[in-house]
Amino acid sequence: MNTHRPVRALSRALSRALSNSSSSVQPSSTFPLKNVTKSNFEPALAELRRHVAAADFVAIDLEMTGITSAPWRDSLEFDRADVCYLKVKDSAEKFAVLQFGVCPFRWDSSKQYFIAHPHNFYIFPRQEILATNPAYEFLCQTTSIDFLAKYQFDFNICIHEGISYLSKGQEIEALRHLSLAYEDELLAKWSNLKEPVHMPVVKMADTLFTERMKNIFTEWRDGLLRNSNGELQLQGNSNDSQQQLRIIFFKMRPALSLSGFTSHQLRLIHLVIRRHFQDLAYVQINGEKTCQQRLVVRTDSKDDRELLMKEVKDEHCRQAEVKVQAAVGFRHVIDLLSSEQKLIVGHNCFLDIAHIYSKFVGPLPSTAEEFVSSVNKCFPYVVDTKMLLNANNVLQQRMKKSQTSLSSAFAMLCPQIALGKKSTDLAFQSCVKVEVQVDDLRSSNWNSGAKHEAGYDAFMTGCVFAQTCSHLGIDFQSFLPSEHLAHNEKLQKHINLLYLSWSNRDIIDLTSGKKNAVSLGYTNHKKRYPEILFENIALIWGFPSKLKARDIRECISKVFGPTSVTSIYHLDETAVFVQFNKEKFVSEFLILKETLERSDGPVSVLHPLAGLLEGGNTQAANYETYKDICSSPSSKILFADQADAVGTKWKNKLIESKAAMESLERESFGEKNEVNTAFVFC
């Protein structure tokens, strides 16, 4: 990568220069953006704190190890908003973030341009503490990894040098764990000694050793009492024990440092001290370079001893805190963005936000509403550029109906940055200028040339946002440094609206938790035809693989009438959604299927549905079951396998709903009978 990037960038610049030779070309600067790994994280974080504090908005972008854990987990047209959220949740929980782009933008009113500081953080979820927890695992989607490789992503840097992190939940857990560790350790040893099963017949050797240590400590303590000037000797001891017991001072108190004892011997010593010496304390301290030191400390009184023990414990806690703080790692950046309450800008960033939440805040809640309200507390102002671009008719025209992918939006809205040329187009007279600063390098015409690198993508997102604001009529020139961009009246109605799913244009409002907030003048471009009614949908899977949508429609239409099936939609090759024109057909279909499967008579073989049920593996359920299957943590490649794996749960539910149906059935007996006769004669 080291060699590739500059070469690529250079050749790009060259070809650009050649192709654009007619327009006025400025040589675009190609210095790399700020790459941050664990080796330069501390200083980079300190600097970022300054930039974020001064920024008007911060653009972000993430590179993940994958998007969907199974093909059917991709967002589909037939996904209700709650299912959309479950799919996003699954993705954020299973995949890892490898690169995190952060780019603060600040309006320089004297120079009339934005200054951007693109940062590219390599992150890798190493387990630095809490090694006792189950191994940390994440999923990689082969195509996503291959995609990153295509854009020269450096996996070696990421795995060797990526910054690790702890979520808030993990941090609390780790602190508790580490501060308890000290007490537990002492306690555990103590309890082991009392344990009758574990204390084999007290060995002679132990008794002798205990006696000897008791004598030594008594002697030493008595010696201290006799001449309090500290000049004392361990009289009558062999050289051996002089090496093992070294006299030192610990927190202004005389102490013996124990070394060269086995852990069993140390346990016995601890026991002796506790049993026989009121004024001696056994303490364990962490010296430099993690080597542990055990001391026997002489205290003046019982109170003094308590005091000492407390001091030692506090020190342990402090050390644990320092260790945990270091392990928090990249989350400091997230905490910074959250505490500064800056406007966060992303491009189609609902998934990004879900990743941020699950990695750095805590486990994702089970519903979108809970999620959104928690997110709102951490990040009160989020704006999505994809949303903005589709929200405004003026912008849509400006985009000339081209795609709203990040790179095409960037090329369209910010040609002066994207292509490095001064446009002669009158429409672009109002281009917002952006100057990039990386360490001491500055350029108003910067292009790192590294698309799909999180830092660069964040930069592009920010540029698109700045330009969009200007098209929305926000005048940066009269912009006061004290003004909060998120409160700008022209922008306010777009704040905190995100696409829950781009494929069916479901919008969610982070402030209110409302879904489908179409009322704000957001035109729903893609008219769904026919309209999707989730309660009219039955889910069928495990049918013979030769059956196509057309065959299934035919089968069902024969039973429920030619217009009964509104639409059929393939989830994957093993499953379909069937939308009926009436809600009751769903339950009737499920009951009919059950009945046919129970009876083996010739009628069931001749029944029009027999083709669908052939093979005996065909399963069917209502839309709620689809939601349940989506919420399952497992991810089989084929939907039919997934449904079978989740199996037991939906089966139980089906029995319940069937019982409910049967009671309902009895009520409307006449109606049901009608349908039944229809089966027989069609």
Binding site: M1, N2, R5, P32, N35, T37, S39, N40, T65, G66, S69, A70, P71, A96, F124, P125, R126, Q127, P134, A135, Y136, E137, F138, L139, C140, Q141, T142, T143, I145, D146, L148, A149, D154, F155, N156, I157, C158, I159, H160, E161, E195, P196, V197, H198, S635, I637, T648, N652
Partner: protein
């Protein structure tokens, strides 16, 4: 990336060339795969064993997921299967080697793999799991992830290859076998006559077309449906049944020597048409058929990718030496052969067809008492070096201190260990070199991989398990009881003393062992006590201190529940959680009655075991 520390940069750039040895590990990526494959083929042909060692993206997610001494062949297979299906292989080291009169000649290859979707068919693997701890330690050993992901060799399993062939839909030469006994129906005759006249017209037209003007020839093309296949003219005969294909092929064979029929597969299986290619002469026909063959070969190589190596090893029928056979071969089976079958017997049968001779170094080590517990190759080698005189003649053994290349040499070390073990265990090295399909009796006892801890070779076929790796007593699975739901932080000793006072069954000798923090095993030495205990725990009359413990949440179940956990794949982080889920299942009771076959396991009688280190 200017900030890259020099140490790391050096690690990335280091190659095996700085090791001055007769043998050097050959790194193979997709860039040099083709020529390396030829070389490997030669080395394989000239050697009498092949050692394999795999680099995976993960192993076991929780402590109890790894094979335990109390596992039966079936449960340990379930565990290995679970890992093999989720994790990915990033490197496959294969080392053909010869061992003659304690002279070892290894030819190590490291094939770097990545499951890239080369054919855009969503194969070989949609996604895979990764353990960060695994990647971190691979990184420390100097594994180059960029080389792996950018240039790793892709592959398809045998099962995936057949699926892919259908979906790619390349024309293939016909494999028609003359069936003289078939009689033609009227419909057949009509079909035959129709296509015969079409082919005749088309052939004549092709022969005479040289003089035609452009307009005429293009008209003719339209009318006759004539096209070009490469530089040769061809036409398609649409067919709608297997029968029609046979008829068409039969007719073409009788019709002319210059026609070559090709089968055009339909999307989603079956045949769409028969394509007839007209060659200009007998020689041209031969050369065209050769062309087709080469094309197919090339296509196959592209599809199989790295699996070519597996096929070569399999075809060579050489004994395959590995260090942890069950784990490695579940991976190999699932990535390169076909999806793993549900039980261990089917797996062994299926594997045996592909690799008839498997040798597990780990098993061989079990025959040397002190090595029973050693799993590290390096430690085993140094133990053998210190305790046995068994010189192996090989150019210097790779050293641990060669920074950044440790992972490359594992397979060579394994060969070395194998050679040493052969020498110490007095396994004649010609025993396996003979081309006889049956192995000599001596090494056969090391070939069983189904049981991770066979006590002795004769018994390894049974489903025996044992609890500790030291002295064992045979114990039936029926005598085991799983306990969970006790207070966290309990040690086995605490649990034992608690139980001791709680019920009469515990007045006799019994043992307790923690499986993980959440779950323990109790072994009753007298038959029938486990049932008594289980009945008592679930009965109304439960009383005394046991009642108290049970009311605090203690649960108990037989070994069946554990088997169920493994079979259903309820791989929670804590075994207690998994057992709870297994008992939740409504089918549970039904199955418990069916499973009457009891298995025997081994239980250690060694009382000085440290309960806390389990």
């Amino acid at each position: 990336m200017a900030s890259l520390p020099p140490l790391i940069r050096r690690r990335f750039l280091s190659t095996s060339t700085n090791v001055p040895k007769k043998w050097a590990v050959k790194e193979v990526t997709k860039l040099n795969f083709k020529e390396s494959l030829e070389e490997f083929k030669d080395h394989l042909a000239g050697s009498n064993f092949v050692a394999v060692s795999l680099q995976k993206t993960g192993s076991f997610s929780a402590a109890w997921h790894r094979p335990q001494p109390f596992d039966t062949a079936d449960t340990s297979y379930c565990k290995a299967k679970y890992a093999a299906e989720r994790f990915q292989l990033l490197q496959f080291a294969a080392c053909p080697f010869t061992l003659r009169a304690s002279k070892l000649t290894p030819h190590p290859y490291n094939f770097v793999l990545f499951p890239r979707d080369e054919l855009k068919l969503g194969m070989p693997s949609y996604s895979f799991s990764v353990q960060t701890s695994h990647l971190t330690s691979m990184a420390q050993e100097g594994f180059d992830f960029n080389a792996c992901i950018y240039n790793g060799i892709s592959y398809l399993s045998r099962a995936q290859e057949s699926a892919a062939k259908v979906r790619i839909g390349n024309p293939s030469p016909s494999t028609y076998i003359m069936n003289s006994s078939s009689t033609h129906t009227v419909a057949d005759t009509v079909f035959l006559e129709r296509i015969k006249s079409r082919v005749k017209h088309w052939k004549n037209a092709c022969r005479s077309s040289k003089k035609d003007d452009a307009l005429l020839s293009s008209l003719r093309k339209l009318v006759l449906g004539s096209e070009l296949y490469g530089s040769r003219p061809c036409m398609n005969i649409d067919v709608c049944s297997e029968r029609q294909i046979q008829l068409a092929l039969e007719m073409l064979r009788e019709f002319s020597d210059e026609l070559v029929p090709l089968i055009i597969p339909a999307k989603g299986g079956g045949t769409q048409a028969v394509r007839v290619v007209l060659t200009s002469s007998k020689e041209d026909k031969d050369s065209f058929e050769r062309e087709l063959q080469n094309l197919e070969e090339e296509q196959n190589q592209r599809v199989r990718g790295f699996r070519e190596v597996i096929d070569l090893i399999s075809a060579s029928q050489k004994p395959v030496v590995s260090h942890n056979a069950l784990n490695d071969f579940t991976f190999i089976h699932s990535k390169f052969l076909s999806p793993l079958p549900t039980n261990v017997d089917e797996f062994m049968d299926s594997l045996h067809l592909v690799f008839p001779h498997l040798l597990d170094v780990n098993h061989m080590m079990k025959n040397i008492g002190p090595l029973r517990k050693v799993t590290n190759i390096h430690a085993a080698i140094s133990y053998l070096n210190n305790h046995y005189f068994a010189p192996i003649d090989m150019e210097n053994l790779p050293q641990e201190n060669e920074e950044g290349t440790v992972h490359r040499h594992n397979v060579v070390k394994m060969c070395y260990l194998f050679a040493k073990l052969c020498s110490i265990l007095k396994i004649p090295d010609n025993a396996m070199t003979s081309n006889n399909a049956l192995l000599a009796p001596a090494p056969e006892e090391y070939t069983n991989i189904s049981n991770p801890y066979p006590d002795s070779p004769q018994e390894s076929i049974n489903d025996d398990i044992r609890i500790w790796t030291k002295n064992m007593k045979k114990v039936s699975c029926n005598h085991l009881v799983f306990l969970w739901g006790f207070r966290s932080g309990m040690t086995a000793g605490m649990l034992k003393s608690l139980l001791h006072k709680s019920h009469d069954v515990f007045s006799e000798e019994f043992d307790v062992r923690l499986v993980d923090k959440s779950c323990a095993i109790v072994v009753f030495w007298r038959p029938g006590l486990s049932e008594t205990f289980l009945d008592f725990v679930s009965s109304e009359e439960i009383c005394g201190s046991l009642r108290e413990i049970v009311s605090e949440g203690l649960r108990a179940s037989s070994y069946e529940a554990y088997k169920r956990v493994c079979r259903l794949g309820l791989w929670e982080a804590n075994l207690a959680e998994s057992l709870d889920r297994a008992l939740e299942d409504p089918d549970c009771l039904v199955e418990a009655n069916l499973a009457a076959n009891c298995k025997e396991i081994y239980w250690s009688s060694d009382s000085t075991i440290n309960f806390d280190n389990l």
